[in-house]
Homo-oligomer: 219 residues x 2
């Protein structure tokens, strides 16, 4: 589980580098309010996106009306890739003032046709998307709620601070975490208090969190 939490280690560094100047000339910046929709499920996939600040969540609605969060996108992360012409999931801004850069897909593809460096940027972004999804796929298995929550925290700390021991502020609510881990809010809350009591993490004011001891999951 510790290994899986590390799957996303290299993303940030690689994807934070800016694209070429030509690429950025195609960009449009969107500034979103808390909860605002970047695109809806079913929208035509005419753009690729990248979070430049804040946090975005990719959501799917189940037929029973439950929300499932497929992934969180942090600054530097690309999203919106689709093999079909319609998006399978919606994407929303999680926190106030999240900024998202939008690139017109067709034009970017044309641009990439003659620009090997840009090609690789896109390819790497897609591969990193695969790695992120794969990591979640591993975490989401039949691990206990305690392990899921701990892995989630560890992953977030690392993606947000680029260190494993720093204290970070979780940008999302317990409800978001619950929908991401496929747990109920209550179970997320209980797991966090148990992790705090057992000394695995420290939790200052509900959002400020720090990894203390990876061994102490048992409590």
């Amino acid at each position: 589980m510790l290994a899986t939490a590390r799957l996303s280690q290299d993303h940030a560094t690689a994807s934070r580098q800016l694209g070429s100047a030509a690429m950025e000339s195609l960009a449009t910046v969107m500034r979103c309010q808390r909860g605002e929709t970047v695109y809806e499920q079913g929208d035509r996939s005419e753009y690729w996106y990248r979070v430049t600040s804040g946090l975005a969540r990719k959501c799917a609605l189940t037929p029973e009306g439950r929300r499932r969060i497929i992934e969180f996108s942090l600054p530097g992360d690309f999203f919106g890739f689709s093999a079909r012409d319609a998006h399978a999931c919606a994407v929303e801004a999680v926190i106030e003032g999240t900024t998202v850069t939008r690139y017109p897909r067709r034009q970017l593809e044309l641009l990439a046709d003659g620009d090997p460096q840009l090609q690789r940027l896109i390819r790497d972004a897609a591969f990193q998307g695969i790695a992120r999804l794969q990591a979640r796929n591993v975490i989401l298995g039949p691990t206990t709620a305690l392990e899921k929550v701990f892995c989630f925290i560890a992953d977030m700390v690392e993606r947000l601070s680029h260190e494993t021991t720093a204290a970070v502020v979780l940008p999302m609510t317990r409800y978001d975490i619950a929908d991401y881990l496929s747990l109920s809010v209550e179970t997320v809350s209980r797991s966090l208090t148990r992790l705090r009591h057992s000394g695995a993490i420290s939790l200052l004011d509900g959002r400020r969190v720090r990894i203390l001891n990876e061994q102490r999951l048992s409590g």
Copy 2:
């Protein structure tokens, strides 16, 4: 849930098309025995792969020693993309005589630099990989075991036969299905019998399966 089972609808058609002649000239074909390893976790990611016949599974081992199947790759599917230089998961052949075509990554990238069509092929393969992982991510949530199993069967029938109502032979064991859906074998087995009794599916000899009625999940 029915919608999610359809996420993978377009893959097969798009990815079955052959790559360019130049691309195929770099290819090496591997013929694998049942259970044989294509690559191990931690192997350097120097190749990209594509299943040409049979079935492959991408596995991760949890720290507790449980196996988690991240995805099944059917003929036409690419796999082995990695944003890092080492593979995060192992890949094994599920059935005897599975053939896998292997492309040297660096050479293929160089080739793609001057070949926009090949670029798009690679890009689309990566995007389809994202779509597959995303679909699994949705299914794996807090749905009941019955729904997970039904979605899995529906997805497999569609990917294997390109129709929704055909009878197909499941190429993998109950254990594989269990590790893929994060359920125990017993629960998979029980769910299948319940689905059969309720009239949602027909199950002839344990492996031959057909979707009968999408509404009858309740039984």
